[in-house]
Subunit: 315 residues, 2 copies
Amino acid sequence: MNILGFDIGGTKSIVGVADESGRVLAMRRLETRGALGPAQALDRMKAAAHDVVEEAGVRVDVIGIGCGGPLDRRSGTLYTVPNLPGWEGICLTGEFGGEFGVPAYLENDANAAAMGEHLFGAGKGVDDFVFLIVGTGIGGGIIANGRIYRGYGENAGEIGHHKIAPDGPRCPCGDRGCLESLASGTSIARIAREGLADHPDTILRQWTSSPEEVTAEMVARAAAGGDEFASDVWSQCMRNLGIGVANVVNILNPKLVILGGGVTKAGEMLFEPVRTVVKERAMPALAADVEIVPAANGDLMGLMGAFAVAVEAQL
Amino acid sequence: MNILGFDIGGTKSIVGVADESGRVLAMRRLETRGALGPAQALDRMKAAAHDVVEEAGVRVDVIGIGCGGPLDRRSGTLYTVPNLPGWEGICLTGEFGGEFGVPAYLENDANAAAMGEHLFGAGKGVDDFVFLIVGTGIGGGIIANGRIYRGYGENAGEIGHHKIAPDGPRCPCGDRGCLESLASGTSIARIAREGLADHPDTILRQWTSSPEEVTAEMVARAAAGGDEFASDVWSQCMRNLGIGVANVVNILNPKLVILGGGVTKAGEMLFEPVRTVVKERAMPALAADVEIVPAANGDLMGLMGAFAVAVEAQL
Protein backbone atom coordinates (compact mmCIF):
# COMPACT_ATOMS: atom_id res chain seq x y z
CA MET A 1 0.00 0.00 0.00
CA ASN A 2 1.37 3.42 -0.95
CA ILE A 3 0.13 6.57 0.69
CA LEU A 4 -0.02 10.16 -0.47
CA GLY A 5 0.19 12.43 2.57
CA PHE A 6 -0.63 16.12 2.97
CA ASP A 7 0.54 18.09 6.00
CA ILE A 8 -1.23 21.42 5.62
CA GLY A 9 -0.05 24.24 7.86
CA GLY A 10 -0.92 27.89 8.05
CA THR A 11 2.37 28.98 6.44
CA LYS A 12 4.07 25.81 5.21
CA SER A 13 2.84 22.50 3.88
CA ILE A 14 4.50 19.22 2.99
CA VAL A 15 3.34 16.69 0.44
CA GLY A 16 4.87 13.23 0.33
CA VAL A 17 4.53 9.61 -0.65
CA ALA A 18 5.33 6.70 1.68
CA ASP A 19 4.77 2.99 1.84
CA GLU A 20 2.66 1.53 4.66
CA SER A 21 5.69 1.18 6.94
CA GLY A 22 6.13 4.95 6.79
CA ARG A 23 9.21 4.87 4.59
CA VAL A 24 9.19 8.15 2.67
CA LEU A 25 9.61 7.61 -1.08
CA ALA A 26 9.41 11.26 -2.11
CA MET A 27 8.42 14.55 -0.54
CA ARG A 28 8.23 18.24 -1.26
CA ARG A 29 7.85 21.32 0.97
CA LEU A 30 5.86 24.31 -0.21
CA GLU A 31 4.55 27.62 1.06
CA THR A 32 0.84 27.27 1.77
CA ARG A 33 -0.02 30.88 0.91
CA GLY A 34 -3.36 30.16 2.48
CA ALA A 35 -4.24 33.82 2.79
CA LEU A 36 -4.57 34.07 -1.00
CA GLY A 37 -7.58 31.77 -0.65
CA PRO A 38 -7.97 28.03 -1.08
CA ALA A 39 -8.32 27.74 -4.86
CA GLN A 40 -4.79 28.76 -5.76
CA ALA A 41 -3.23 26.96 -2.78
CA LEU A 42 -5.05 23.71 -3.53
CA ASP A 43 -3.97 23.85 -7.18
CA ARG A 44 -0.34 24.23 -6.12
CA MET A 45 -0.66 21.35 -3.64
CA LYS A 46 -2.20 19.10 -6.25
CA ALA A 47 0.60 19.94 -8.69
CA ALA A 48 3.20 19.19 -6.00
CA ALA A 49 1.40 15.93 -5.21
CA HIS A 50 1.53 14.82 -8.84
CA ASP A 51 5.24 15.64 -8.85
CA VAL A 52 6.02 13.54 -5.76
CA VAL A 53 3.89 10.65 -6.97
CA GLU A 54 5.80 10.67 -10.24
CA GLU A 55 9.11 10.90 -8.40
CA ALA A 56 8.17 8.01 -6.11
CA GLY A 57 7.27 5.95 -9.16
CA VAL A 58 4.41 4.12 -7.48
CA ARG A 59 0.65 3.95 -7.69
CA VAL A 60 -1.08 5.74 -4.79
CA ASP A 61 -3.73 3.68 -2.98
CA VAL A 62 -4.94 6.06 -0.30
CA ILE A 63 -4.55 9.65 0.88
CA GLY A 64 -4.04 10.93 4.43
CA ILE A 65 -4.39 14.61 5.33
CA GLY A 66 -3.47 16.44 8.51
CA CYS A 67 -4.63 20.03 8.92
CA GLY A 68 -5.20 22.52 11.71
CA GLY A 69 -8.74 22.39 13.07
CA PRO A 70 -11.47 22.74 13.93
CA LEU A 71 -12.69 20.42 11.22
CA ASP A 72 -15.26 17.72 10.57
CA ARG A 73 -13.29 14.55 10.16
CA ARG A 74 -16.19 12.45 8.91
CA SER A 75 -17.06 14.73 6.00
CA GLY A 76 -13.44 15.79 5.47
CA THR A 77 -14.39 19.46 5.70
CA LEU A 78 -12.80 22.46 7.42
CA TYR A 79 -14.70 24.71 9.81
CA THR A 80 -13.30 28.19 10.45
CA VAL A 81 -9.58 27.47 10.80
CA PRO A 82 -7.72 30.45 12.33
CA ASN A 83 -4.58 29.84 10.25
CA LEU A 84 -6.42 29.38 6.94
CA PRO A 85 -8.78 32.33 6.56
CA GLY A 86 -11.38 31.81 3.84
CA TRP A 87 -11.04 28.03 3.78
CA GLU A 88 -14.25 27.40 5.71
CA GLY A 89 -16.33 24.66 4.09
CA ILE A 90 -13.50 23.35 1.90
CA CYS A 91 -13.76 19.57 1.61
CA LEU A 92 -10.13 18.48 1.59
CA THR A 93 -10.89 14.77 1.20
CA GLY A 94 -13.05 15.58 -1.83
CA GLU A 95 -10.41 17.84 -3.36
CA PHE A 96 -7.49 15.44 -3.06
CA GLY A 97 -9.41 12.16 -3.22
CA GLY A 98 -11.15 13.35 -6.38
CA GLU A 99 -7.88 14.46 -7.96
CA PHE A 100 -6.29 11.03 -7.51
CA GLY A 101 -9.38 8.80 -7.56
CA VAL A 102 -8.59 7.10 -4.24
CA PRO A 103 -10.10 7.28 -0.73
CA ALA A 104 -8.89 10.22 1.36
CA TYR A 105 -9.01 10.75 5.13
CA LEU A 106 -8.68 13.94 7.18
CA GLU A 107 -7.64 14.40 10.82
CA ASN A 108 -6.68 17.45 12.88
CA ASP A 109 -2.94 18.00 12.94
CA ALA A 110 -2.32 17.22 16.61
CA ASN A 111 -4.20 13.91 16.47
CA ALA A 112 -2.49 13.06 13.19
CA ALA A 113 0.93 13.75 14.69
CA ALA A 114 0.12 11.53 17.69
CA MET A 115 -0.96 8.77 15.29
CA GLY A 116 2.28 9.27 13.37
CA GLU A 117 4.34 8.76 16.54
CA HIS A 118 2.19 5.71 17.33
CA LEU A 119 2.70 3.95 14.01
CA PHE A 120 6.10 5.24 12.92
CA GLY A 121 7.77 7.02 15.85
CA ALA A 122 8.55 7.07 19.56
CA GLY A 123 5.20 5.49 20.47
CA LYS A 124 5.50 2.47 18.21
CA GLY A 125 3.90 -0.54 19.89
CA VAL A 126 2.78 1.52 22.90
CA ASP A 127 -0.96 1.37 23.59
CA ASP A 128 -1.27 4.23 26.08
CA PHE A 129 0.56 7.48 25.60
CA VAL A 130 0.11 11.21 25.33
CA PHE A 131 1.73 13.36 22.68
CA LEU A 132 2.29 17.04 23.36
CA ILE A 133 3.39 19.50 20.68
CA VAL A 134 5.13 22.40 22.39
CA GLY A 135 5.51 25.03 19.71
CA THR A 136 3.74 28.30 18.98
CA GLY A 137 0.90 26.84 21.06
CA ILE A 138 0.57 23.57 22.94
CA GLY A 139 -1.43 20.85 21.18
CA GLY A 140 -2.05 17.31 22.23
CA GLY A 141 -3.17 13.88 21.18
CA ILE A 142 -4.13 10.90 23.33
CA ILE A 143 -3.52 7.28 22.34
CA ALA A 144 -5.68 5.06 24.56
CA ASN A 145 -5.92 1.29 24.26
CA GLY A 146 -3.94 1.49 21.04
CA ARG A 147 -6.14 4.00 19.19
CA ILE A 148 -6.42 7.76 18.97
CA TYR A 149 -8.93 8.95 21.59
CA ARG A 150 -11.20 11.58 20.08
CA GLY A 151 -13.80 11.99 22.80
CA TYR A 152 -17.50 12.66 22.33
CA GLY A 153 -17.22 15.62 19.96
CA GLU A 154 -13.89 14.56 18.41
CA ASN A 155 -12.02 17.39 20.16
CA ALA A 156 -10.29 15.54 23.00
CA GLY A 157 -6.64 16.31 23.69
CA GLU A 158 -6.75 20.06 24.25
CA ILE A 159 -4.13 19.56 26.93
CA GLY A 160 -2.63 22.99 26.25
CA HIS A 161 -5.84 24.51 27.53
CA HIS A 162 -6.06 22.97 30.95
CA LYS A 163 -5.54 25.61 33.58
CA ILE A 164 -2.72 25.36 36.08
CA ALA A 165 -2.85 28.99 37.24
CA PRO A 166 -6.51 30.01 37.05
CA ASP A 167 -5.72 33.69 37.61
CA GLY A 168 -2.70 33.59 35.30
CA PRO A 169 -1.99 35.29 31.97
CA ARG A 170 -4.46 35.53 29.11
CA CYS A 171 -4.39 32.59 26.73
CA PRO A 172 -5.19 32.71 22.98
CA CYS A 173 -8.23 30.52 23.79
CA GLY A 174 -9.74 33.43 25.70
CA ASP A 175 -9.27 32.02 29.19
CA ARG A 176 -6.46 32.53 31.70
CA GLY A 177 -3.63 30.45 33.07
CA CYS A 178 -3.82 27.56 30.60
CA LEU A 179 -0.66 25.48 30.22
CA GLU A 180 -0.24 27.07 26.77
CA SER A 181 -0.18 30.57 28.28
CA LEU A 182 2.69 29.55 30.56
CA ALA A 183 4.91 27.21 28.57
CA SER A 184 4.42 27.50 24.78
CA GLY A 185 7.10 29.08 22.63
CA THR A 186 4.99 32.19 22.29
CA SER A 187 4.56 32.36 26.06
CA ILE A 188 8.25 31.86 26.82
CA ALA A 189 9.02 34.78 24.50
CA ARG A 190 6.25 36.91 26.01
CA ILE A 191 7.36 36.30 29.59
CA ALA A 192 10.95 37.20 28.66
CA ARG A 193 9.79 40.30 26.80
CA GLU A 194 7.75 41.49 29.77
CA GLY A 195 10.76 41.23 32.06
CA LEU A 196 13.34 42.85 29.79
CA ALA A 197 12.89 46.38 31.13
CA ASP A 198 13.67 45.25 34.66
CA HIS A 199 16.77 43.31 33.64
CA PRO A 200 19.19 45.67 31.92
CA ASP A 201 22.06 43.18 32.14
CA THR A 202 20.50 40.31 30.23
CA ILE A 203 22.20 39.39 26.99
CA LEU A 204 18.78 39.28 25.36
CA ARG A 205 18.94 43.08 25.23
CA GLN A 206 22.20 42.93 23.30
CA TRP A 207 20.78 40.42 20.86
CA THR A 208 17.70 42.47 20.04
CA SER A 209 16.94 46.06 19.16
CA SER A 210 13.38 45.86 20.51
CA PRO A 211 11.59 43.51 22.92
CA GLU A 212 9.36 42.25 20.09
CA GLU A 213 12.36 40.48 18.58
CA VAL A 214 12.83 38.12 21.53
CA THR A 215 12.02 34.48 20.71
CA ALA A 216 11.78 31.33 22.82
CA GLU A 217 14.82 30.00 21.00
CA MET A 218 16.82 33.08 22.14
CA VAL A 219 15.68 32.55 25.72
CA ALA A 220 16.85 28.94 25.57
CA ARG A 221 20.18 29.94 24.04
CA ALA A 222 20.76 32.71 26.58
CA ALA A 223 19.83 30.37 29.43
CA ALA A 224 22.23 27.74 28.10
CA GLY A 225 24.93 30.42 28.08
CA GLY A 226 24.32 31.21 31.75
CA ASP A 227 22.30 34.41 31.42
CA GLU A 228 20.59 34.77 34.79
CA PHE A 229 17.37 36.42 33.65
CA ALA A 230 16.89 34.03 30.71
CA SER A 231 17.61 31.08 33.02
CA ASP A 232 14.94 32.27 35.43
CA VAL A 233 12.35 32.66 32.66
CA TRP A 234 13.25 29.29 31.17
CA SER A 235 13.14 27.50 34.55
CA GLN A 236 9.77 28.98 35.38
CA CYS A 237 8.33 27.87 32.03
CA MET A 238 9.83 24.37 32.31
CA ARG A 239 8.40 24.03 35.82
CA ASN A 240 4.97 24.86 34.45
CA LEU A 241 5.40 22.47 31.53
CA GLY A 242 6.38 19.79 34.04
CA ILE A 243 3.28 20.47 36.14
CA GLY A 244 1.11 20.18 33.03
CA VAL A 245 2.72 16.86 32.16
CA ALA A 246 2.35 15.66 35.78
CA ASN A 247 -1.37 16.48 35.58
CA VAL A 248 -1.77 14.44 32.40
CA VAL A 249 0.14 11.59 34.04
CA ASN A 250 -2.19 11.59 37.05
CA ILE A 251 -5.32 11.76 34.91
CA LEU A 252 -4.36 9.25 32.20
CA ASN A 253 -1.57 7.03 33.62
CA PRO A 254 0.26 6.84 30.28
CA LYS A 255 3.31 4.68 29.60
CA LEU A 256 4.87 7.50 27.61
CA VAL A 257 4.58 11.22 27.32
CA ILE A 258 6.11 12.15 23.98
CA LEU A 259 7.11 15.80 23.60
CA GLY A 260 7.60 17.34 20.16
CA GLY A 261 7.39 20.75 18.54
CA GLY A 262 9.85 23.61 18.14
CA VAL A 263 10.48 24.27 21.83
CA THR A 264 11.66 20.69 22.36
CA LYS A 265 14.66 21.44 20.13
CA ALA A 266 16.15 22.74 23.40
CA GLY A 267 16.78 19.05 24.18
CA GLU A 268 17.88 18.12 27.69
CA MET A 269 17.37 21.73 28.81
CA LEU A 270 13.69 20.91 28.42
CA PHE A 271 13.49 17.20 29.18
CA GLU A 272 15.61 17.22 32.34
CA PRO A 273 13.52 19.76 34.30
CA VAL A 274 10.23 18.34 33.00
CA ARG A 275 11.22 14.83 34.11
CA THR A 276 12.30 16.14 37.51
CA VAL A 277 9.02 17.97 38.10
CA VAL A 278 6.95 14.95 37.04
CA LYS A 279 8.92 12.70 39.36
CA GLU A 280 8.37 15.12 42.24
CA ARG A 281 4.75 16.00 41.61
CA ALA A 282 2.91 13.15 39.88
CA MET A 283 1.64 10.34 42.13
CA PRO A 284 4.53 7.96 42.79
CA ALA A 285 3.00 4.86 41.16
CA LEU A 286 2.07 6.84 38.07
CA ALA A 287 5.36 8.72 37.90
CA ALA A 288 7.12 5.34 38.04
CA ASP A 289 5.10 4.07 35.07
CA VAL A 290 5.88 6.93 32.72
CA GLU A 291 8.80 7.80 30.48
CA ILE A 292 9.09 11.26 29.00
CA VAL A 293 10.73 11.11 25.60
CA PRO A 294 11.30 13.24 22.50
CA ALA A 295 9.17 12.76 19.41
CA ALA A 296 10.87 10.74 16.68
CA ASN A 297 9.31 12.34 13.62
CA GLY A 298 10.75 15.84 14.15
CA ASP A 299 9.89 18.33 11.42
CA LEU A 300 8.06 15.59 9.57
CA MET A 301 5.60 14.93 12.41
CA GLY A 302 2.75 16.38 10.36
CA LEU A 303 3.57 14.39 7.23
CA MET A 304 4.16 11.13 9.14
CA GLY A 305 0.87 11.87 10.87
CA ALA A 306 -0.90 12.22 7.52
CA PHE A 307 0.45 8.81 6.47
CA ALA A 308 -0.72 7.32 9.79
CA VAL A 309 -4.22 8.73 9.29
CA ALA A 310 -4.46 6.80 6.02
CA VAL A 311 -3.08 3.60 7.55
CA GLU A 312 -5.35 3.78 10.59
CA ALA A 313 -8.39 4.29 8.33
CA GLN A 314 -7.64 0.91 6.72
CA LEU A 315 -7.58 -0.96 10.07
CA MET B 1 -27.42 -13.92 35.73
CA ASN B 2 -27.39 -13.01 39.41
CA ILE B 3 -24.57 -11.08 40.98
CA LEU B 4 -23.23 -10.93 44.51
CA GLY B 5 -21.65 -7.54 45.06
CA PHE B 6 -19.28 -6.29 47.76
CA ASP B 7 -18.65 -2.59 48.31
CA ILE B 8 -15.81 -2.54 50.83
CA GLY B 9 -15.05 0.79 52.46
CA GLY B 10 -12.70 1.82 55.22
CA THR B 11 -15.51 2.21 57.77
CA LYS B 12 -18.65 0.82 56.11
CA SER B 13 -19.33 -1.92 53.63
CA ILE B 14 -22.39 -3.08 51.73
CA VAL B 15 -23.15 -6.57 50.49
CA GLY B 16 -25.97 -7.18 48.04
CA VAL B 17 -27.46 -9.34 45.34
CA ALA B 18 -28.76 -8.03 42.02
CA ASP B 19 -29.82 -9.36 38.65
CA GLU B 20 -27.86 -8.36 35.57
CA SER B 21 -30.00 -5.28 35.01
CA GLY B 22 -28.83 -3.97 38.37
CA ARG B 23 -32.14 -4.55 40.16
CA VAL B 24 -31.23 -5.08 43.81
CA LEU B 25 -32.80 -8.25 45.23
CA ALA B 26 -31.36 -7.98 48.73
CA MET B 27 -28.71 -5.98 50.50
CA ARG B 28 -27.14 -5.41 53.89
CA ARG B 29 -24.96 -2.68 55.34
CA LEU B 30 -22.28 -3.50 57.87
CA GLU B 31 -19.40 -1.85 59.72
CA THR B 32 -16.15 -2.94 58.09
CA ARG B 33 -14.12 -2.81 61.33
CA GLY B 34 -11.11 -3.14 59.08
CA ALA B 35 -8.71 -2.02 61.77
CA LEU B 36 -9.32 -5.28 63.65
CA GLY B 37 -7.61 -7.01 60.76
CA PRO B 38 -8.96 -8.78 57.73
CA ALA B 39 -9.77 -12.22 59.16
CA GLN B 40 -12.65 -11.16 61.36
CA ALA B 41 -13.97 -8.60 58.88
CA LEU B 42 -13.94 -11.08 56.01
CA ASP B 43 -15.80 -13.64 58.12
CA ARG B 44 -18.49 -11.10 58.91
CA MET B 45 -18.77 -10.10 55.26
CA LYS B 46 -19.08 -13.70 54.17
CA ALA B 47 -21.79 -14.30 56.75
CA ALA B 48 -23.65 -11.20 55.56
CA ALA B 49 -23.26 -12.40 51.97
CA HIS B 50 -24.81 -15.76 52.77
CA ASP B 51 -27.68 -13.93 54.46
CA VAL B 52 -28.43 -11.71 51.45
CA VAL B 53 -28.13 -14.60 49.00
CA GLU B 54 -30.62 -16.54 51.06
CA GLU B 55 -32.91 -13.53 51.29
CA ALA B 56 -32.74 -12.97 47.53
CA GLY B 57 -33.63 -16.60 46.98
CA VAL B 58 -31.47 -16.98 43.88
CA ARG B 59 -28.35 -18.79 42.83
CA VAL B 60 -25.32 -16.49 42.52
CA ASP B 61 -23.42 -16.77 39.22
CA VAL B 62 -20.66 -14.23 39.64
CA ILE B 63 -19.16 -11.88 42.25
CA GLY B 64 -18.13 -8.25 41.80
CA ILE B 65 -16.04 -6.39 44.38
CA GLY B 66 -15.21 -2.71 44.69
CA CYS B 67 -12.58 -1.66 47.20
CA GLY B 68 -10.28 1.28 47.86
CA GLY B 69 -6.93 0.86 46.19
CA PRO B 70 -4.19 0.59 45.31
CA LEU B 71 -4.81 -2.97 44.31
CA ASP B 72 -3.89 -5.51 41.66
CA ARG B 73 -7.04 -6.10 39.70
CA ARG B 74 -5.76 -9.08 37.73
CA SER B 75 -4.83 -11.14 40.79
CA GLY B 76 -7.65 -9.70 42.90
CA THR B 77 -5.21 -8.68 45.63
CA LEU B 78 -4.86 -5.56 47.77
CA TYR B 79 -1.64 -3.60 48.04
CA THR B 80 -1.20 -1.29 51.06
CA VAL B 81 -4.63 0.33 51.27
CA PRO B 82 -4.58 3.40 53.55
CA ASN B 83 -8.11 2.78 54.84
CA LEU B 84 -7.59 -0.94 55.51
CA PRO B 85 -4.40 -1.27 57.57
CA GLY B 86 -3.10 -4.83 57.70
CA TRP B 87 -5.00 -6.00 54.63
CA GLU B 88 -1.98 -5.94 52.34
CA GLY B 89 -1.75 -9.10 50.24
CA ILE B 90 -5.33 -10.19 50.91
CA CYS B 91 -6.79 -11.79 47.79
CA LEU B 92 -10.41 -10.66 47.85
CA THR B 93 -11.41 -12.55 44.72
CA GLY B 94 -10.01 -15.73 46.22
CA GLU B 95 -11.74 -15.15 49.57
CA PHE B 96 -15.21 -14.49 48.17
CA GLY B 97 -14.97 -16.53 44.97
CA GLY B 98 -13.80 -19.51 46.97
CA GLU B 99 -16.57 -19.11 49.54
CA PHE B 100 -19.28 -19.22 46.86
CA GLY B 101 -17.57 -21.29 44.18
CA VAL B 102 -18.08 -18.74 41.41
CA PRO B 103 -15.80 -16.34 39.50
CA ALA B 104 -15.03 -13.09 41.33
CA TYR B 105 -13.72 -9.79 39.98
CA LEU B 106 -12.10 -6.86 41.79
CA GLU B 107 -11.85 -3.22 40.76
CA ASN B 108 -10.85 -0.06 42.62
CA ASP B 109 -13.83 1.75 44.06
CA ALA B 110 -13.72 4.85 41.85
CA ASN B 111 -13.53 2.85 38.64
CA ALA B 112 -16.24 0.52 39.91
CA ALA B 113 -18.51 3.46 40.70
CA ALA B 114 -17.95 4.89 37.21
CA MET B 115 -18.82 1.51 35.72
CA GLY B 116 -21.93 1.41 37.90
CA GLU B 117 -23.07 4.77 36.55
CA HIS B 118 -22.29 3.53 33.04
CA LEU B 119 -24.36 0.37 33.23
CA PHE B 120 -27.04 1.32 35.74
CA GLY B 121 -26.97 5.08 36.33
CA ALA B 122 -26.64 8.55 34.85
CA GLY B 123 -24.16 7.38 32.21
CA LYS B 124 -26.30 4.59 30.80
CA GLY B 125 -25.75 4.36 27.05
CA VAL B 126 -23.10 7.09 27.09
CA ASP B 127 -19.74 6.04 25.62
CA ASP B 128 -17.59 8.95 26.79
CA PHE B 129 -17.92 10.40 30.25
CA VAL B 130 -16.03 11.23 33.40
CA PHE B 131 -17.26 10.40 36.89
CA LEU B 132 -15.99 12.42 39.84
CA ILE B 133 -16.62 11.43 43.44
CA VAL B 134 -16.44 14.56 45.57
CA GLY B 135 -16.37 13.32 49.14
CA THR B 136 -13.65 13.05 51.75
CA GLY B 137 -11.25 13.13 48.79
CA ILE B 138 -11.87 13.48 45.07
CA GLY B 139 -11.74 10.27 43.07
CA GLY B 140 -12.42 9.73 39.41
CA GLY B 141 -13.17 7.23 36.70
CA ILE B 142 -13.03 7.64 32.93
CA ILE B 143 -15.36 5.87 30.50
CA ALA B 144 -13.83 6.09 27.00
CA ASN B 145 -15.30 4.49 23.90
CA GLY B 146 -17.80 2.66 26.11
CA ARG B 147 -15.31 1.02 28.49
CA ILE B 148 -13.54 1.97 31.69
CA TYR B 149 -10.17 3.50 30.81
CA ARG B 150 -7.50 2.15 33.12
CA GLY B 151 -4.34 3.47 31.49
CA TYR B 152 -0.99 1.74 31.31
CA GLY B 153 -0.61 0.83 34.97
CA GLU B 154 -4.36 0.60 35.70
CA ASN B 155 -4.31 3.78 37.77
CA ALA B 156 -5.83 6.29 35.35
CA GLY B 157 -8.49 8.65 36.67
CA GLU B 158 -6.65 10.35 39.53
CA ILE B 159 -8.40 13.55 38.57
CA GLY B 160 -8.44 14.73 42.18
CA HIS B 161 -4.68 14.97 42.02
CA HIS B 162 -4.22 17.24 39.07
CA LYS B 163 -2.84 20.55 40.22
CA ILE B 164 -4.72 23.77 39.58
CA ALA B 165 -2.77 25.89 42.06
CA PRO B 166 0.77 24.51 42.05
CA ASP B 167 1.80 26.54 45.11
CA GLY B 168 -1.46 25.83 46.91
CA PRO B 169 -2.27 23.90 50.08
CA ARG B 170 -0.78 20.54 50.96
CA CYS B 171 -2.73 17.57 49.60
CA PRO B 172 -2.99 14.11 51.21
CA CYS B 173 -1.07 12.78 48.17
CA GLY B 174 1.99 14.71 49.35
CA ASP B 175 1.92 17.39 46.66
CA ARG B 176 0.38 20.87 46.70
CA GLY B 177 -2.59 22.53 45.06
CA CYS B 178 -4.31 19.41 43.71
CA LEU B 179 -8.02 19.74 42.97
CA GLU B 180 -8.65 17.55 46.04
CA SER B 181 -6.81 19.99 48.29
CA LEU B 182 -9.11 22.80 47.14
CA ALA B 183 -12.56 21.28 46.71
CA SER B 184 -13.02 17.98 48.56
CA GLY B 185 -15.26 17.81 51.63
CA THR B 186 -12.20 17.66 53.84
CA SER B 187 -10.74 20.71 52.11
CA ILE B 188 -13.95 22.74 52.32
CA ALA B 189 -14.00 22.08 56.07
CA ARG B 190 -10.30 22.89 56.43
CA ILE B 191 -10.56 26.18 54.54
CA ALA B 192 -13.53 27.21 56.70
CA ARG B 193 -11.72 26.18 59.86
CA GLU B 194 -8.66 28.20 58.95
CA GLY B 195 -10.77 31.33 58.47
CA LEU B 196 -12.93 31.04 61.58
CA ALA B 197 -10.67 33.13 63.82
CA ASP B 198 -10.88 36.10 61.43
CA HIS B 199 -14.66 35.90 61.09
CA PRO B 200 -16.22 36.26 64.53
CA ASP B 201 -19.71 36.82 63.10
CA THR B 202 -20.07 33.59 61.15
CA ILE B 203 -22.82 31.28 62.32
CA LEU B 204 -20.33 28.41 62.09
CA ARG B 205 -18.88 29.64 65.40
CA GLN B 206 -22.29 29.35 67.04
CA TRP B 207 -22.78 25.84 65.68
CA THR B 208 -19.46 24.54 66.97
CA SER B 209 -17.51 24.66 70.19
CA SER B 210 -14.16 24.23 68.46
CA PRO B 211 -12.96 24.73 64.87
CA GLU B 212 -12.32 20.98 64.51
CA GLU B 213 -16.07 20.38 64.52
CA VAL B 214 -16.67 22.29 61.29
CA THR B 215 -17.74 20.07 58.39
CA ALA B 216 -18.30 20.70 54.68
CA GLU B 217 -21.97 20.01 55.22
CA MET B 218 -22.11 22.82 57.83
CA VAL B 219 -20.39 25.19 55.41
CA ALA B 220 -22.97 24.36 52.74
CA ARG B 221 -25.84 24.81 55.20
CA ALA B 222 -24.51 28.12 56.52
CA ALA B 223 -23.89 29.36 52.96
CA ALA B 224 -27.46 28.39 52.00
CA GLY B 225 -28.67 30.41 54.99
CA GLY B 226 -26.82 33.49 53.78
CA ASP B 227 -23.81 33.42 56.09
CA GLU B 228 -21.27 35.65 54.38
CA PHE B 229 -18.10 33.87 55.44
CA ALA B 230 -19.49 30.41 54.67
CA SER B 231 -20.72 31.69 51.29
CA ASP B 232 -17.26 32.98 50.46
CA VAL B 233 -15.61 29.68 51.38
CA TRP B 234 -18.20 27.69 49.48
CA SER B 235 -17.95 29.90 46.35
CA GLN B 236 -14.19 29.66 46.32
CA CYS B 237 -14.32 25.86 46.56
CA MET B 238 -17.02 25.58 43.88
CA ARG B 239 -14.99 27.81 41.57
CA ASN B 240 -12.04 25.49 41.99
CA LEU B 241 -14.21 22.42 41.45
CA GLY B 242 -15.50 24.06 38.27
CA ILE B 243 -11.97 24.74 37.05
CA GLY B 244 -11.05 21.11 37.66
CA VAL B 245 -14.09 19.96 35.70
CA ALA B 246 -13.30 22.46 32.90
CA ASN B 247 -9.80 21.00 32.69
CA VAL B 248 -11.15 17.48 32.34
CA VAL B 249 -13.59 18.72 29.67
CA ASN B 250 -10.74 20.27 27.65
CA ILE B 251 -8.55 17.20 27.94
CA LEU B 252 -11.16 14.49 27.35
CA ASN B 253 -14.12 16.13 25.56
CA PRO B 254 -16.69 14.01 27.44
CA LYS B 255 -20.43 14.02 26.76
CA LEU B 256 -21.11 13.94 30.50
CA VAL B 257 -19.37 14.80 33.69
CA ILE B 258 -21.19 12.94 36.44
CA LEU B 259 -20.62 14.24 39.96
CA GLY B 260 -21.31 12.06 42.99
CA GLY B 261 -20.13 11.72 46.58
CA GLY B 262 -21.15 13.38 49.81
CA VAL B 263 -20.42 16.97 48.84
CA THR B 264 -22.83 16.73 45.88
CA LYS B 265 -25.70 16.38 48.36
CA ALA B 266 -25.59 20.18 48.35
CA GLY B 267 -27.46 19.90 45.03
CA GLU B 268 -27.88 23.01 42.92
CA MET B 269 -25.61 24.93 45.30
CA LEU B 270 -22.88 22.78 43.81
CA PHE B 271 -24.07 22.11 40.28
CA GLU B 272 -25.05 25.68 39.38
CA PRO B 273 -21.64 27.29 40.06
CA VAL B 274 -19.73 24.34 38.58
CA ARG B 275 -21.78 24.52 35.36
CA THR B 276 -21.24 28.29 35.19
CA VAL B 277 -17.47 28.00 35.57
CA VAL B 278 -17.24 25.23 32.97
CA LYS B 279 -19.28 27.28 30.51
CA GLU B 280 -17.00 30.28 31.07
CA ARG B 281 -13.68 28.51 31.12
CA ALA B 282 -13.75 25.33 29.03
CA MET B 283 -13.22 25.76 25.28
CA PRO B 284 -16.56 26.76 23.73
CA ALA B 285 -16.99 23.71 21.46
CA LEU B 286 -16.16 21.35 24.31
CA ALA B 287 -18.27 23.23 26.86
CA ALA B 288 -21.18 22.97 24.42
CA ASP B 289 -20.77 19.19 24.19
CA VAL B 290 -20.86 18.47 27.91
CA GLU B 291 -23.62 18.11 30.47
CA ILE B 292 -22.79 18.15 34.16
CA VAL B 293 -25.20 15.91 36.04
CA PRO B 294 -25.63 14.24 39.43
CA ALA B 295 -24.80 10.57 39.89
CA ALA B 296 -27.86 8.33 39.90
CA ASN B 297 -26.66 5.61 42.26
CA GLY B 298 -26.27 7.82 45.34
CA ASP B 299 -25.19 5.99 48.49
CA LEU B 300 -25.27 2.74 46.55
CA MET B 301 -22.67 3.88 44.02
CA GLY B 302 -20.13 1.44 45.43
CA LEU B 303 -22.52 -1.51 45.43
CA MET B 304 -23.89 -0.75 41.95
CA GLY B 305 -20.28 -0.43 40.89
CA ALA B 306 -19.49 -3.87 42.26
CA PHE B 307 -22.38 -5.33 40.25
CA ALA B 308 -21.12 -3.52 37.13
CA VAL B 309 -17.62 -4.94 37.62
CA ALA B 310 -19.09 -8.44 37.46
CA VAL B 311 -21.24 -7.65 34.40
CA GLU B 312 -18.38 -5.99 32.53
CA ALA B 313 -16.13 -8.99 33.22
CA GLN B 314 -18.64 -11.16 31.32
CA LEU B 315 -18.58 -8.95 28.21
